[in-house]
Symmetry: C2
């Protein structure tokens, strides 16, 4: 007897839909085998066989439960804001409630649906590249909740940064929250970083997929990089890295400003 | 790029060791990539591709956090007790503290080590079959925490029940907590039950493996059966099913008594 492979689908969206149902009681809740309530868990596989589970509820956290750098990021928002990888709308809904113009972008249909049910009015189901063909223009781009990782790789980062420049008003900024992966002494991670570098990848260039119940995402790169590595990625793009706030190390908040 | 397969090992033991470290601060804690504390999560894969994560901390729960049927089971213990699948020693340590003679049996080296560190004095690292060759004799056998599932299958259950009879004093009883899986309307589970039956298995005869970080257990059968199915399993063995306490449906506490 061998294991069936999971179906490729919107694992993140299915997970966030269930997490929303568990937190609010709205919509069908995931049916556990038994009677006891169970938190919704995000399961992440890495290509070296590492698997990790973490409660998904934080995607729905209200501002009082946020990390300090999220609050500091919000104070830097101005003008029309594009929240990239909006997820359950945690950040975008707060900006909207403060009267700011904010658009939530995600590639997960389930995430967009949950964001809208939670009250986010302006949402886009698309990749950054697809959306860069639109006429919309923004003053602030958000990559919060570790979404600096969406820069993916040495190859992908300049393409994405160019796409954001096409969507940008003059003087626009990117606020991106990253995580420096190199403080660990865990041999599982240190060895992974070394094997990555031997293949020409960034040490913290994770190859991941999400799994939720019967569904898996496609494999994707997600970049945990140091501030120094980020600086090399931004060089040669229309953006300039103007500040790194690393008070919540190993997490940091990077500000990039458009050079026009 | 393909995914590496996880190493086969003591996934349960590794998980319980980390859960113990997180709860007590004793021993090295699992190194998360970041700075935020993370609960230890048990990840269970089923052979149809279903994956589920659940916090592992409950294995260490003190009696005030237990389910009501666990307390009712303890009131039925008498004489020398063998706790089968002792895990982190949750039940056995409480019995020991009440002055009862209790042995904790597990096939997980990590689980036995955590039980001993938590103070359990009498432990055995073995399968039931291996231990049935020993000279020890017991008056009560515990299969709590859903460990009725260790009966596995139609083929395995009578073999295990015979082994327990060899370890039994006259008048011994088995206290086993099971879960009736057939109350669900979730098509993922209903379909699984149907495919199981079509292959001659019990509907709730789950084929599972645990995963924890880089390690996976072997695949194993774990039986969620109804009380009626349990009755058919016990027939023809040296045991008699004398009561089912299903006040905490779908969970139930079965009592089996030795017919000599």
């Amino acid at each position: 007897m061998t294991m069936e492979q999971p179906t490729i689908g919107d694992a993140f969206g299915d997970m966030i839909t269930d997490a929303y149902a568990v937190r609010t009681g709205i919509g069908p809740r995931p049916l556990a085998g038994g009677r006891l309530p169970r938190p919704v868990i995000e399961v992440i596989e890495r290509d070296d066989g590492l698997i990790n589970g973490a409660p998904a509820d934080h995607y729905l956290d209200e501002p009082d439960a946020w990390q300090p750098h999220d609050h500091r990021a919000l104070r830097l928002c101005r003008g029309h804001v594009l929240d990239i990888g909006v997820g359950a709308g945690r950040i975008a809904i707060e900006l909207q409630s403060r009267g700011m113009a904010v658009t939530g972008l995600d590639t997960s249909r389930g995430a967009i649906e949950v964001s809208r049910r939670r009250g986010l009015r302006d949402t886009v189901l698309a990749t950054v590249d697809e959306y860069a063909r639109a006429a919309a223009r923004y003053d602030t781009f958000l990559l919060l909740g570790n979404n600096l990782g969406l820069l993916e790789s040495r190859e992908r980062a300049p393409v994405m940064l160019d796409a954001l420049a096409r969507l940008a008003n003059p003087g626009a900024r990117i606020l991106a929250q990253g995580a420096d992966p190199y403080g660990t002494s865990d041999p599982v991670h240190v060895g992974y970083h070394e094997r990555n570098r031997a293949r020409g990848r960034f040490g913290g260039q994770l190859r991941l997929r999400l799994r939720y119940r019967m569904v898996a995402s496609e494999w994707f790169d997600y970049l945990n990089c140091s501030a120094e590595e980020l600086e090399t990625l931004v060089a040669g793009t229309p953006w300039r890295l103007t500040s790194i706030d690393d008070r919540d190390r190993p997490y940091y908040l990077a500000v990039m400003e458009l050079m026009r």
